[in-house]
């Protein structure tokens, strides 16, 4: 209901996959398009909104991001930018992927964007073996296929004098 959305003091409860409950102000929750749509279509009558795919640690991070962005006025873009870069700075990869999945599920475009960029920055300029190592990606190429891809790519990496 539109009238209830305008009421900033109203709160709702989100429940993580591991059973932890988070009391969230509505305007913070609205950073998530998923929650916004739920509230708009008045599915919020339930006391608790379960988020079965998101664990407590990740949800806490997500809500920290949402709170910062919901509270900051548009004039504080510079502050938000530095918050964003600090937010992901020392995060390990496992946590980062959980965050991406959560942002994707809850449809928080800004968070998905900075997290994807963070992963891209980690991949950037690294040879494929190192990317495999960092991200624990299994090499599923047969030696023949690998040779074929290498041949396809050969001129991408060998400089001319």
């Amino acid at each position: 209901m539109a009238s209830s959305i305008e009421n900033n003091n109203e709160k709702l409860t989100l429940k993580s996959s591991d059973g932890e409950e988070f009391l969230v102000e509505k305007h913070v929750a609205l950073q998530s398009t998923l929650l916004q749509n739920m509230l708009d279509s008045d599915c919020s009558s339930a006391d608790v909104i379960p988020l079965p795919k998101i664990d407590a640690r990740t949800l806490a991070l997500v809500l920290g991001y949402c709170k910062k962005h919901a509270d900051a006025s548009s004039s504080k873009q510079g502050e938000l930018n530095s918050f964003d870069s600090e937010f992901l700075k020392d995060m390990d990869m496992g946590a980062l992927f959980n965050l991406v999945l959560a942002a994707n599920f809850m449809e928080i475009k800004g968070l998905l964007d900075i997290a994807a960029q963070k992963i891209a920055d980690t991949i950037k300029d690294k040879p494929h073996q190192e990317v495999r190592e960092i991200f624990h990606v299994e090499n599923d190429y047969t030696p023949e296929e690998e040779a074929a891809v290498r041949e396809e790519n050969r001129w991408a990496f060998e400089g001319f004098p």
Partner: protein
């Protein structure tokens, strides 16, 4: 410092519950599309899934939306020392980073014909031709990123000996997703110009070239490159007056409008900057740049920039305008006055009126480079 940090990441992520392989495909596409070409091609070697994702239209679209304009050059190999032909791509990131040579990427191609060179580009695909008007005319479309190429059938033989000066155009219709190649021929006798003729070939549709009617109204001589923008081809034509001409790729019709007289006499050059159409001309004192202020209004040419006395910068032969940078500077390439085999990248600041040359010089084969965004969509996808 960096090394130890990397180690820490590996240790803490030793047994991660969630890995990059758990991400939905559209997010992996998003991540890959943010990378430079070098990194994308490294990622193709990581695993089959990543390689396959780079061939998805979804990825191609994302990549196109995030990629910077690039210079694409073609170096023809030769059969004497067996040196290969290749495309070289220089991605023009903003802010401009052109200090290291390895910012370019090379793509080998089997395409080799005597005198073949780049003629045009469209959506990151390249039209190569030897520009012959005779039986040995070769026209090839290549997509360097997809390592695809297509040799077009030979256009019909020219009936008259006087029909010469073949020019090629290469364009795409976004609404039908069709790529078309046009060949114009006209008399080389300036004093008695005959009518312009045009043949057209749609890749993936036509088996042979079709002759275009509707060319009677067009100026018989083409005096500029034929460039592609927003579903149309543009060029400068001359018949007594100078005209800006265009061809609608989808509807296949021509139009031409006289250039206003306030654009100085002589040759004018046509370029695309930031999806807008620009004319430029110069003398020893000035380079002048005219923008089509209202796109589609062929009377709206407005003087946008003037660079005074370019000669003091030891540069001449402006090659092309590239784009405006975020800070308002205009990026361009021109020939080095001291070394004709070198191409210089420079930026012009309209506020301070200072033209600044980049220290990075591009060697020989860049002089014919095209400016385009390399793209994983390919005209050859229509050939199945």
């Amino acid at each position: 410092m960096r090394r130890s940090k990397r180690k820490a990441i590996q240790n803490t992520a030793a047994v991660p519950a969630v890995t990059i392989s758990d991400l939905p495909n559209h997010i992996t596409c998003d991540i890959l599309s943010r990378l430079s070409l070098n990194s994308i091609f490294a990622c193709k070697r990581v695993c089959k899934l990543w390689r396959d994702l780079t061939l998805e239209p979804y990825f191609a679209k994302l990549h196109l939306s995030k990629s910077p304009l690039s210079l694409i050059s073609y170096r023809r190999g030769n059969d004497i020392d067996n040196s290969p032909s290749y495309f070289e791509i220089l991605q023009l990131y903003d802010p401009l980073v052109l200090r290291r040579r390895d910012t370019t990427m090379k793509f080998r191609t089997d395409i080799y014909f005597p005198r073949i060179h780049m003629v045009a580009s469209c959506n990151g695909s390249i039209l190569l031709s030897n520009s012959s008007s005779d039986d040995d005319l070769v026209i090839v479309v290549c997509n360097p990123l997809r390592a695809q190429q297509f040799i077009l059938p030979k256009p019909p033989k020219l009936a008259l000996q006087t029909h010469k000066l073949a020019q090629l155009g290469f364009g795409h219709s976004p609404s039908t997703d069709q790529y078309k190649v046009l060949r114009f021929t006209s008399s080389n006798n300036v004093f008695k110009p005959c009518r312009l003729n045009c043949e057209i070939f749609t890749i993936g549709i036509d088996d042979e070239w079709r002759s275009m009617g509707d060319t009677e109204q067009l100026p018989a001589l083409i005096i500029s490159k034929i460039i592609f923008l927003n579903g149309a081809l543009y060029w400068i034509g001359v018949e007594n007056l100078r005209f800006i001409c265009y061809f609608d790729i989808e509807r296949e019709h021509f139009r031409s409008f006289p250039l206003p007289s306030h654009i100085g006499k002589g040759f004018v050059y046509l370029d695309v900057v930031d999806n807008g159409l620009y004319l430029h001309n110069w003398d020893s004192l000035q380079w002048r740049f005219w923008a089509m202020k209202d796109y589609g209004d062929f009377g709206s040419w407005t003087l946008e920039w003037v660079i005074e006395e370019p000669i003091i910068y030891k540069c001449k032969g402006l090659r092309r305008l590239l784009k405006t940078l975020k800070d308002g500077r205009l990026l361009m390439t021109f020939d080095d006055i001291r070394d004709a085999t070198k191409t210089i990248v420079a930026s012009y600041n309209p506020r301070t009126r200072v033209l600044k040359k980049n220290k990075y010089h591009l060697s020989g084969h860049w002089s014919g480079a095209v400016a385009d965004i390399p793209c994983f969509f390919s005209p050859m996808d229509a050939l199945k």
